[in-house]
Amino acid sequence: AYANDNDLSHSYIVSVSSLIPPTVCNRTRTALPQGPGKVSLEVLGRYGPCSKLNQGKSRNTPSLEEILRRDQQRLHLKNSRRLQKAIPDNFKKTKAFTFPAKTGIVAADEYYIVVAIGKPKQYVSLLLDTGSGITWTQCKPCIHCSQQRDPFFDPSKSKTFSKIPCNSTTCKILLEWFPPNGQDKCSSKECPYDIAYVDGSGETGFWATDRMTIQEVNGNGYFARYPFLLGCTDNNTGDQNGASGIMGLDRGPVSIISKTNISYFFYCLHSPYGSTGYITFGKPDTVNKKFVKYTPIVTTPEQSEFYHITLTGISVGGERLPLKASYFTKLSTEIDSGTIITRFPAPVYSALRSAFRKRMKKYKMGKGIEDLFDTCYDLSAYKTVVVPKITIHFLGGVDLELDVRETLVVESVRQVCLGFALLPSDPN
């Protein structure tokens, strides 16, 4: 009954009901990666059934459309940042130059860890974001904190908390790296920072230092940094959906990676179908490391802040898309834990969509989701379906064969979508 042009060895045969994410937390993993020189923490999805931020209340979970809309907003802001970086410094300093998009980060989505700040320790949940650098948390007192369900960090209760003074050299450098909106110097004794989101929300706050502790639940693994530079947010108009901040993991000058001796970390992000994931700060065991396949991180100055790698091709159902490897290698590929959906430029997305649709032609197409997904299927008439395997190829012979649940985004059995999207065009 299967279409002739498909090769079953390059496809998944799955039951349609198994595509629907579970609503009950199922912790199946028994142990986190452990050993000398490393610290492992549980990673939770903030919208998933194991999330402590949701408090088990479905009303706290935004719709898929809303989550995807936020993901798209994040993309627009990232594009704006790139645009700003492309402009020469001497031009930025001219009076005639004004830039509409502000430097900063937008809320990462999906995955968080719990860390301790201060002495005595106060535990806060921070979203993991390899696409941004500033680690910030919501501090008391705050003006708009109604959305937040996690405890706030209260600086007045920490013996090790210090504000970065306005007149310090550190503040001067920070203001240069992260210029606050509408002001170029301190308005009080604090050293200000300002994060703006494209939807009009944002945070204002000030730079501070305190003790940051990353500790395993069993207390064995332990990592502490003091003083650790962090943003202390006092006015949050955005909805972080329960999380109380972001851990910036990029390669920029203020991230936890740059400011500590962490030179290696790895994570496993569970799918909605699994239970919980983990992040480990430190190197893996030699035995495990031999199963890891590496591709180089691009190190040009323009790409030094984030994690850029080189994609060489994509296969659908065992067949490479008809785009030359030289075309792919000219593109810059950033891996980002804070972005949900993979975005491709038009030629790549078009070729991928075409190849996928060709192999799924026996199934009835369904309604799309937002402007993001245009290749969706109504699978309500089927018990099992055959989905072509998608493999992403990277420099160094690294092949990422995606599981069916990393290929599809499922709203319901009537809306099962190819889980890739078109990169937004110039966001001017």
């Binding site: 993901d71 390669r251 962490i262 790895f266 799918s271 590496y294 591709t295 991180i297 995606l402 990169l423």
Partner: protein, 31 residues
């Protein structure tokens, strides 16, 4: 450019060897 989001990272352990300037993918499923 291309942006590789977290849906497509989920099946793998993603390794950031920052000092070694390389990024790796290992067996995943978080088990």
């Amino acid at each position: 450019s291309i942006l590789l989001g977290n849906v497509q990272q989920r099946g793998y352990e993603v390794h950031y060897d920052v000092a070694g300037r390389r990024l790796g993918f290992g067996p995943g499923n978080c088990n």
